[in-house]
């Protein structure tokens, strides 16, 4: 009981992570005159037209929605900086320095302040590439977990949130096995069952797909090269016929 529902309590939904990210400061250029705002979370203002001022992201988005300001994209969101960060991510194993909430901030700005960002499509594709590369690194680093403390430099809030539940339970299982606690608990039986389920189909699949998949890959390569060279269109035709007719037949006749 403690294992299953415990994880629900400690999980942050993506909306909650975004809520926390909305407190980050951004620069805006208002186009109206307004007195200082004395909020519970701080004082901002006074606002003069065309004079830049730093406000929290939620306030900037609210003003932008009502057409009262333009948002200046933050320094780290320039194309030069993002290209540099992307190259750095691809070359090294470590994470590059990015703001903790870069995912949420960039997403909110793309959704609601698109016209304030120069070359928005380029910036957007760079941010998505960076996200993919970083998450791929997170996945490969997950293989190096041990039972003791694991440290990570420069990981962002959304990435942390995605792997929070899984890594917490994995580390707990490692820790328990290493310390050989004799307490029987529900978590262990739950962990055992999924393993058994995965074992059986894996054996079946590897046994039955040997005739098909490696052949698949080789023909795929030949077809690709021949298409490039425009050498033999008939190979392409034969390959397509193979895919459409023969493979499904083989799959249906495969012993279970």
């Amino acid at each position: 009981m403690a294992g299953q529902s415990g994880s629900q309590l400690s999980l942050f939904t993506p909306d909650e992570v975004e809520f926390v990210a909305e407190d980050e400061l951004v620069e805006i250029v208002p186009n109206l005159r307004m007195d200082s705002l004395n909020f519970i979370c701080g004082d901002y203002g006074p606002f003069y037209p065309q004079i830049a001022i730093q406000v929290p992201l939620w306030l900037a988005l609210a003003l932008k929605k009502r057409g009262k300001c333009t948002i200046r994209p933050p320094q780290w969101m320039s194309i030069e900086n993002l290209t540099q960060v992307l190259e750095g991510e691809r070359e090294s194993h470590a994470f590059q320095t990015l703001p903790f909430h870069y995912v949420e901030i960039s997403r909110l700005l793309f959704d609601r302040a698109r016209d304030d960002i120069p070359d928005v499509y380029m910036v957007r594709s760079l941010v998505e590439d960076i996200r993919d590369v970083r998450f791929h690194k997170v996945e490969t680093n997950l293989e190096n977990f041990t039972a003791s403390a694991v440290t990570w430099k420069n990981m962002a809030a959304m990435e942390v949130n995605i792997i929070r539940a899984f890594s917490g339970r994995a580390l707990q299982a490692f820790y328990r096995h290493e310390n050989e606690q004799a307490v029987p608990d529900l978590d262990r039986t739950q962990d055992r069952q999924p393993q058994n389920l995965n074992d059986r189909p894996r054996v079946c699949r590897s046994f039955c797909c040997i005739p098909i998949f490696p052949l698949h890959h080789w023909i795929d390569k030949i077809v690709f090269i021949s298409c490039l060279l425009d050498y033999c269109p008939t190979i392409v035709f034969l390959w397509r016929a193979y895919c459409l007719f023969v493979v499904p037949l083989q799959r249906n006749l495969r012993p279970r």
Binding site: G6, L9, I40, A62, T151, K153, V160, G168, L171, Y175
Partner: protein, 217 residues
């Protein structure tokens, strides 16, 4: 902790701001995150709650100037109230989950506020009565306790306790040396650098967390 007017001035750097003062909302956000991420219930922030309630009352009484300013003040109020309500709701969920354990241990009971203690007592009574009526009264005398499996058990083994060996993600707010940790865990974790994300077992960092040196993420 000043009320209302925190140091929101824009030209200060982050370090200076945290050095001078942090607003109540920052403290509440930190308490909310810690409470959500921790497996057991933490100390109740009574002073924070009372000062925030005063500010809520002030803000909702503010006279309407123009609709724009009113809606912005309302948004700020909504955000703060969401944090406060979510904080209280998470604590209530934890109380309900570990109700018998909290009623048993004085340490946990002292971390609750007065209203939460009343709630816990009445919730425990209701649950006990319900279990007795539906199941326990029909079992033989040796097995009808809601705290013990049978009369032969030495401890209360029917009471689920919070899992203190679950792993949490945390960041240290300053450099933490081995002295800040409990001595029995000193061979597991010796130091923690500032602002480095660490996945660690909750019980190792329990003491620095209570002293406010670590934030859970």
């Amino acid at each position: 902790m000043d009320s209302g007017t925190g140091e929101g001035s824009t030209s200060f750097t982050d370090d200076y701001e945290t050095f001078i003062s942090t607003t109540d909302v920052d403290l509440l956000k930190r308490a909310w995150r810690n409470e959500k991420a921790a497996p057991e219930i933490l100390q109740y922030e009574a002073a924070l709650r009372s000062s925030l309630q005063e500010q809520n009352v002030e803000a909702s009484e503010a006279d309407g100037e123009d609709p724009l300013t009113m809606s912005l003040y309302q948004m700020d109020l909504d955000r703060t109230q969401f944090l406060l309500r979510s904080y209280l709701r998470v604590r209530l969920q934890k109380i309900e989950k570990y109700i018998f354990h909290i009623l048993k241990t004085d340490e946990s009971l002292n971390r609750l506020s007065d209203e939460e203690q009343t709630f816990a007592a009445s919730c425990g009574d209701d649950l006990r009565a319900h279990l007795k009526e539906t199941v326990l009264s029909k079992l033989p005398t040796d097995y009808n306790s809601e705290l013990k499996q049978s009369a032969a058990s030495e401890e209360d083994d029917m009471v689920p306790a919070p899992r203190l060996d679950s792993f949490v993600i945390c960041k240290a707010r300053q450099y933490i040396s081995g002295l800040d940790f409990e001595p029995e865990y000193s061979h597991e974790i010796t130091e923690m650098e500032r602002d480095l994300l660490t996945f660690v077992c909750y019980k190792f960092i329990k003491k620095p967390l209570e002293n406010g040196k670590i934030d859970l993420v």
